[in-house]
Symmetry: C2
Subunit: 357 residues, 2 copies
């Protein structure tokens, strides 16, 4: 059939709660709109570790590779803190990223007008904010070798990791950033610590060369990562597209997510062919099972899937409009609650989005 094959990996913590709301919207779409889904589910993270002794089985990985797209919830929780590194929940998502070759992670920070008030930043600083972080996702210190803990001849113990980027790795993720910029405001900030890191200097040189060769029509600026962290808080609207390493992207995108007034932003992890969509809020162990989680970032991850993996911009627009309506109507989950608004549970938020649809 021409059904779209979607693998849902809800994972740990609030993952299953928010994915439950996404499934409801998928059912609505299947019933009312042009195309439908073959939905399959699998385990990832701590729940997979409990069931199979590993955070991702080879079978689930094969299912992910075979699917047209993957919807990912969240992984991790304090109950697995003492598990050996190779078996930790986080290794489930890291292995998916690596084996599916998801080298470009798009993390938009977009401020919806009804949520401006929920930001800890002042209205004028964030209203209308629309920036995109392109985070390299399959390289750098997350995967670099050698890594480990060793004991020196004098008995001193030390832990170490390797930050490493090759020219092709830098080029392919930078191309994604330049191409995106062309469809946006045509500006790219490349972020590193070229002043203290050799890999940072190398990153800067490679981006500069690629820009000169193929993207002179895009405005390119280089910025140190510490300054970028500062500028995201000081004047975030100066940015259009930011491209950076796996590690800097991890910190900077979480910082940028906070500007939006919501705990979660949607995230599109893509690369050669496949893509995985994930809300960036994490597993939130403190609110698990209480029907408190905000399903909107997961829903917006799903709309990114519709738009970018399935070319279904109409359906994506429809769902995004429904989300906007619900927010404009004053409904808020606990994480974005404010005076004068109406408190909503996870389910109630899902009901409202379906209602608006």
């Amino acid at each position: 059939s021409s059904n779209k094959r979607v693998l849902i990996l809800a994972g740990d913590g609030i993952g299953p709660e928010v994915m439950g709301q996404v499934e409801r919207v998928m059912e609505w779409l299947s019933a009312r709109r042009s195309f439908s889904f073959d939905v399959q589910s699998g385990l990832v993270g701590g729940v997979s570790y409990e069931a199979h002794g590993t955070p991702l089985t080879d079978e689930t990985l094969a299912d992910a590779v075979a699917a047209d797209a993957v919807l990912f919830g969240a992984v991790g929780g304090p109950q697995w803190d003492s598990v050996a590194r190779e078996a930790r929940p986080e290794m489930g998502i890291l292995r998916l990223r690596k084996e599916m070759d998801l080298y470009a992670n798009l993390r938009p920070a977009l401020v919806f007008d009804p949520l401006v008030e929920a930001s800890t930043l002042k209205d004028e600083v964030v209203r209308g904010l629309d920036l995109m972080i392109v985070r390299e996702l399959t390289g750098g210190i997350y995967f670099g070798e050698p890594r480990g803990v060793e004991t020196l001849p004098d008995g001193t113990r030390r832990g170490f990791d390797t930050e490493v980027y090759s020219a092709p790795e830098i080029e392919r993720v930078s191309r994604v950033a330049f191409e995106l910029a062309r469809r946006r405001d045509n500006r790219v900030h490349s972020v590193e610590k070229a002043n203290v890191m050799e890999s940072g200097k190398f990153w800067r040189d490679e981006v500069t060369a690629l820009h000169a060769a193929d993207y002179t029509d895009v405005a390119l600026e280089h910025m140190y990562a510490d300054n970028c962290a500062m500028q995201l808080v000081r004047r975030p609207k100066q940015f259009d597209v930011i491209v950076t390493s796996n590690l800097f992207g991890d910190l900077l995108s979480d910082c940028a997510a906070m500007l939006t007034g919501s705990l979660g932003i949607p995230s599109d992890e893509g690369g050669n062919r496949k893509a995985l969509y994930e809300p960036v809020h994490g597993s939130a162990p403190d609110i698990v099972g209480q029907n408190l989680a905000n399903p909107l970032a997961a829903l917006l991850s799903f709309t990114m899937m519709l738009r970018y993996s399935f070319g279904a911009a109409d359906d994506a627009d429809l769902i995004e409009a429904a989300v906007q309506d619900v927010l404009a109507g004053g409904l808020r989950t606990a994480d974005i609650m404010q005076d004068g608004m109406t408190a909503a549970s996870t389910d109630a938020m899902g009901d409202a989005v379906l209602g608006a649809l």
Copy 2:
């Protein structure tokens, strides 16, 4: 004599401008108060490179080691962007840190009431904020070996760096954090990426062991660096003392600096015996020579010197009160200017502080 020997390394960009105001206050102190200074000056950064072909000469390093304390301005600027890494302005401060063994960098983020309005964060989020970041300063990826650019047998080029922390390095900087916490709100957050980095897991284990051995009276929490970047924007007042690596400390302290409503926070780089004091605003090439720079962070760095290197808390209090008075009176340099306030140049700000004294 019992004069305090202070080496001033004003450096590049606005360094000399802000240090000029500090020198005026030092002269006032020498004339009016109990002790006096032997002030010596030296070159560091780009200006040293221009004069001597190196960002720090052995002679200046020896002067720094011989001094009772060092006052540092800023280094760097676009004119040295293409200089080889070993000769870059930044290597001047990195070499000082390493050779003076300045392993613990104290970066307070303190919100003065008159500056609450200047923060891009909402009043209630930052008013009364008083947190301290303890950044490891002589280890990690800033200095780790191997590092460089290499060509693989298949012709692929790549740049690489090594993040590495030994048990003694983690222990000594963590002790500084725990001791500081005891004199503050008795809480420490240790920040790393133990979920993806071996050195992060090692850092967490070592801090946990030290805490269990000597600091069970201090509340210790572990936090991932991405979450910390998020929490600094979301709810910064949850923190008392944060201890972290050189690289994470670089990003997180710049982010925290922004919360204070000022571009610059004072910074105390210390360790075994010596200390170096530095405002964290950088060389600000865009406003050099225009009498626009804000000298207050440099002045507050100097008060940290009085307090921590010379035990002159009275004098430090006096100068801090003068700074508070000037701000309460409505005077503002361009970086913190707001409606209804009075614009002041670098010199005028210095005049006002001297006037208040």
